[in-house]
Subunit: 150 residues, 4 copies
């Protein structure tokens, strides 16, 4: 019997001229900018929590504390990447995510990331705010549990 599908928030992005390096492929830090934009879209559209409002008005930060990436194959200008995001762990003041970039049925980048919720006024970690925790738990529950990191 098949495993239940992982929760996954997906969007497509075009590999643009501005993402590419002199070798004509995505410059690796640009994947991280794209993944960050994907987390932003997930907040806005998946969790229903306005990212700009969360950072700008509520003065919450979401700094990354841990990042692992495997770059499995290059991506070329003009390709369409599918970005996908799953939650792997919800801590007290941290959220672990797995992000993937794929194109043409091929995994290009696999990334595990740990973000921490902070106060931008004190620069210290704070417990995940209630509405965010609630939205995270709803997301995870909808698809039968956390994604397994790999």
């Amino acid at each position: 019997m098949d495993a239940k599908p992982d929760y996954s928030f997906e969007r497509e992005v075009l590999v643009r001229f501005a993402h590419c390096d002199p070798a004509g492929i995505v410059y690796f830090p640009q994947y991280l900018v794209l993944f960050n934009g994907h987390v932003e879209d997930w907040f806005n559209e998946g969790l229903g929590i306005g990212y700009a409002h969360f950072i700008g008005e509520r003065r919450c930060g979401l700094p990354m504390v841990k990042l692992d990436c495997e770059f499995k194959a290059p991506s070329k200008m003009g390709e369409r990447l599918t970005l996908s995001l799953g939650v792997t762990k919800i801590g007290n003041s941290s959220i672990a995510l797995q992000l993937r970039a794929s194109a043409q049925g091929q995994l290009r980048v696999l990334s595990n990331q740990v973000l921490v919720t902070t106060s931008l006024d004190t620069n210290k970690s704070i417990p995940i705010p209630g509405d965010l925790r609630h939205a995270l738990e709803r997301c995870v529950a909808e698809l039968g549990g956390l994604r397994t990191p790999c």
Copy 2:
């Protein structure tokens, strides 16, 4: 009597965290990256000429030779910018464009740009390739002429 509307290719983009500076507003070079992405979308979707193919396979360049910008009001993270593009002049080997970024009914950035068609092999200017010229002329004709630069 109203003037005929300018030809205008429009798309919306979200002002993302990654576009903003420590003042919480769009860092000005990011507008130019957004405008460049808009030219890319215009090639792909407006002119019907694949931008990545034009650069990558046909080895044509589109370097900018002249750029004027007025930054009229700041844009904040979370706003949706409307990017609009009109052709102001078609030369022998150059294309003059006007780009605008607006939000909430307010013009934020107005930019006039001159791009030149080149060969990436010789790094010299070349006449605008026939299919591109044809697509440009069709675009301009559809709305009754070139946009007036301002």
Copy 3:
């Protein structure tokens, strides 16, 4: 008799992999990031006014309101660019600058820029703070006057 030399604050920067596009030359918005960094160095080292302190602690902004650039020749990865800056006008709440990027005796980019002093708390323009005005006037006087824009 030779004209008096323009006031000029100069620094060298390496054209890095990260500055270059799939055509192997500096992606044009990167020149603007480099020029912004040069203004930063000029504040710190030429004017003797800490840029980070000016923005971060004193909460003054320096948004650009007007930008003109001519891109005269491309710059390749590995080249060393000489960035040079001169003051062309000191207004009540605005500073006009001319920036140049050159390499191998050849002007690559010429840019005229107008920056405005603002309060980051009100987002409105403010008169140029006294210490900054004083430093600007000293700079200009040292070399016999404002640079002529061109």
Copy 4:
């Protein structure tokens, strides 16, 4: 008895306005751009192998295949970061590096990276070219061995 010091190539960089996000601290992908620039300086100045020539003329690529980062403390605009690099492993066609960014005696970012030597013409991995291997071995030998990853 003290351990022999790790081999370390060090340079200082200023945290610039352009590196910082709306929270006023370095936007994490910018650390990776800074580390990439540090690898570039290390090639040019530490290994004596021109990075731009290696990529541009010899058509060798150095794509990253694996990246781990720990972001231990934020860095603010105006701080001076010390970037340091050590070799942790030399493979057949791969080089493992450890990079650190520190300021004020505090480790800010620790990163382990694996780069692979490729041909830009075939996009396949190639054995580390002889002159690069020789330079790498000399670097490591000078300080009594590989750095221990941590």
